[in-house]
Symmetry: C2
Subunit: 537 residues, 2 copies
């Protein structure tokens, strides 16, 4: 009997789909209505009193006649009919109308597209979206949402602009042989980056990292930003279903870059406020062995150093321990060093490249991510670098770089900018000073409001402890506070949960998207939330 | 007994790996040699006369002592020793030397990276590589290899250059509000493209495609070239292990864009010279049903129209049939239309978008690829477009576009260029005339050598039948002829096998990489090969 009941229900969705289709054709909407008149009593027969015979034969016959009827109606709308739009293409041969006998169901997309097409559930992206709908502007939209959720550095745009105005034309088109220059930008160029830019970048990285480590341009693959650099590295280092360890709190973008298309899992290694969120090798060991027990293949560890979102810097000792750990487990290290030049504290940044220079270690497991979005504040230019000591990885990454290559005019422009040593020196110094100035003022003001920040030495953000303001002390309380900041204070900040922080109540606040002069305004808005929290507690 | 034989062999590879590592450290290479002295007699014991006890206990004990010995030697190389380089970082805590007790085997990369890091076996890439090692230059390297294997259009670079010289600065930096302009290029911009560029591109596509079809900027996702556009679409439309149908001969790049990272298979649908390599729906049906029988899920069909490498154009009737086929099978259509504006024949190009306008079909299965590398000859600028009628696909593609986004200065530049209607009109016309002129002369000259080309109306190449010159009539013969062109004539062309052509002896020859004046030189080089083939036959 189950068969009897199941079988006849099959044909019913089909005409309904046909109807849907026909409804969009205004003139044939009446046919769908008449179709419904047929189907409703039919359902009664099928689901209730019919038997095997009635339940299977009658609907099939009716379905056939219905299709025949709809097909006839449809063929009245041939493209050459006067009702169609004047630009329509005529069709010389008769239409086979395959569509009416085949499946007209909605075409399927990939599983990945189904997931990605849904609205983001991470508050990191949700916050960015909300800002884009109502962005603050001191004159045009003074009540808009202030963006403190994106580490965009706007403190030195005046320097970049001044340089561009002066040098743009010469740097893109060349000042010498005209024919040479157009051939250097319009036709295809090496996808993994122009050699000139690699050399200039190696110099810039050397300079930014304190002049104590050299970079070899032949170890570089250039990409359109650090984001594809991380993705390409992920594709190179691990297979779908493998995993990377990642200390928390971590940059929300890693989930996207590593999980989405490479299909690699991220295993959080929780760091604590009591350690100022510094990495702990024992926690790493535990996470590794637990993953192994679950049958997960761990293929690497991703660190961001200087840390995003905390802003602290790894000590050389910690880097040595990490190398030992990676060598012991025979896994890779991906070191995201995009904030290397944006230091302001007394602690000096040490690149993992420098530690490698001093140790007899297998360098082939170490890969550095760098880019110009942070330290040179040209995120819109999309310039990223994979720096690897592994020839196999470099060879594979070079091939993948054609999916993420930088436009040649931009490469020429950036090469020229980086090669202007006087400008670069001035830029690095001014940028550090301005970051320090804004950061000190901002963190001081927060302290006065009773909000303490984690100790930090780099980055464009502070990692603020607002656990005293949340109620309940849980992720729920954190999200409610985030919502309050968004709606009451109209500022977008990144909640710790978006960074997989295990302790609730921490927030990343970027301060380089505003000017020094705008700090009081932001602090005033934060004060409102603090006071409302205190009064309700 | 099998267990006895297997078990003791395990420890042996370990010390060998240790040796490898130590050999790179010059001072400890003697340790590896002494290690070998221990291992060789040990192997005799284990594999032959030992038993369970000797075979498992002795090697384990020896292995332990060997590791202990190597560890001691290794610890002599502590980083603070005077032999290390002067910039070395000191290590404050004692080194744990985890590495010497763990696996020191070479770190694994992903399967994909292993495959991609190997040299290309496709003659398409091999040819491009060879040119890059010895590129022809009329003055500097007149005996170098002439590039006819890449569809780069160099015929109108003078127009592009003239425009750039005049407009570069104003288009990137803006002529008005200075503060507005730096904010429009340096900070993060929408990853899927600036709206201004989408509008300009929609206009350009409308113009290039004969003015008979409108494009909606909101259906666009911009990418850094058509290559990532195809890859992103692949990720959106099918899952790993699914397949797309693709008529042959096809552009060798599809294999890379669809197979590498999305992991989608390409099922060739063979077209024949007797049909001038036009698509045949019966062949499509057969390929589809055969794939289904093998349990492969076909999720779409990729066409290039105008065809690369043949240069023919699909008739509206064929497009109608394709739509019927796709609707019948409920699959997607990806139409690569990057050569839409590079037409020279009497046949008019009709975009699939135009056919959709005139038919009551489900547009959500149709996706168009476009870009400016071919029709505007700015391949180095990396500007590509996904044009889709499917909201889910657009939403997902927008998110993926952050891995392939175009730099903002380039977007501003191109927006300005495309908005210069007088320039664009002049460019399109001049470009078509020049392509036609070079193509006619080139094909005529080939005909005089006895080489006929397929009928074509678009593109930057001809599809030449050299089957009369190959011996044996097979892929082997074709490859030998390719090698002869490379070494005797010193020209790089693309053999049909690289395009999955089922008939041997066809070659794609790009003619827009040379100037009109260089045609006699190229033809002379080809003549050499033709004559040598004829004399040897």
């Amino acid at each position: 009997m189950t068969q009897t009941q199941e079988k006849p229900t099959n044909p019913i969705p089909q005409p309904q789909k046909n109807q849907k289709k026909n409804q969009s054709q205004s003139q044939s909407s009446s046919s769908s209505r008449s179709g419904m008149k047929l189907i409703v009593p039919l359902q009664g027969v099928v689901q209730g009193r019919g038997g095997l015979l009635l339940g299977s034969l009658i609907p099939c016959a009716l379905f056939y006649f219905l299709q025949f009827y709809l097909k006839r109606r449809r063929s009245n709308h041939n493209p050459s009919s006067p009702s169609s739009s004047p630009t329509l293409l005529p069709r010389s041969s008769s239409r086979s109308n395959l569509s009416s006998r085949g499946s007209i169901s909605r075409v399927r997309v990939s599983k990945l597209a189904s997931i990605l097409s849904k609205p983001d559930d991470s508050l990191y992206y949700l916050g960015l979206d909300r800002v884009s709908q109502d962005p603050f502007h001191s004159l045009l939209n003074p009540n808009g949402i202030i963006q403190l959720g994106l580490s965009d550095n706007k403190l030195c745009l005046d320097l970049i602009e001044k340089w561009l105005v002066k040098n743009l034309e010469g740097s893109v088109m060349g000042n010498g042989d005209i024919n040479l220059s157009i051939n250097g930008i319009a036709p295809y160029q090496p996808f993994h980056g122009l050699n000139e830019l690699k050399i200039a970048l190696a110099d810039f990285m050397h300079q930014v990292m304190g002049g104590s480590v050299e970079f070899d341009p032949s170890n570089m693959v250039l990409t359109s930003g650090a984001t594809p650099a991380i993705e390409i590295l992920s594709f190179c280092l691990a297979d779908h279903g493998n995993a990377f360890l990642v200390p928390t709190p971590y940059y929300p973008g890693f989930d996207r870059d590593v999980r989405w298309r490479p299909g690699i899992d991220l295993i959080p290694v929780h760091c604590r406020s009591t350690d100022n969120f510094n990495l702990n090798i024992t926690a790493l060991e535990q996470a590794f062995s637990q993953a192994r027990k679950r049958g997960v293949k761990v293929r690497g560890i991703i660190i961001s150093n200087p840390s995003n979102p905390v802003g602290n810097i790894m000590t050389p000792d910690m880097l040595f321990s990490l190398l030992d750990f990676a060598e012991d487990k025979n896994i890779h290290i991906i070191a995201d060093e995009v904030f290397a030049g944006s230091t302001y504290g007394s602690e000096e940044f040490v690149s993992i490249a420098e530690v490698l220079d001093s140790e007899y270690v297998d360098k082939s497991r170490v890969h550095i991510i760098y880019g110009l979005s942070k330290d040179l504040s040209i995120a819109g230019f999309r310039v990223g670098v994979i720096y690897s000591y592994n020839k196999t990885v470099l060879d594979a990454a070079k091939k993948m770089s054609r999916f993420s290559s930088i436009s040649a005019p931009t490469q020429r422009l950036v090469t020229s900018m980086l090669s202007d040593t006087r400008f670069i020196q001035e830029y690095i110094e001014t940028n550090r000073n301005r970051i320090r100035q804004v950061r000190d003022e901002f963190v001081d003001s927060l302290t006065k409001l009773g909000i303490k920040c984690a100790k930090s030495s780099a980055g464009m953000f502070c990692w603020a402890d607002m656990s005293g303001l949340i109620k309940p002390y849980s992720e729920k309380g954190e999200l409610e506070l985030w919502e309050k900041f968004m709606t009451v204070a109209k500022i977008n900040i990144t909640p710790g949960s978006a960074c997989h922080c295990i302790e609730p109540g921490w927030f990343r606040i970027c301060f380089t998207t505003i000017s020094f002069e705008e700090i009081p305004l932001v602090i005033e808005r934060i004060r409102k939330v603090v006071e409302s929290c205190k009064s309700s507690n």
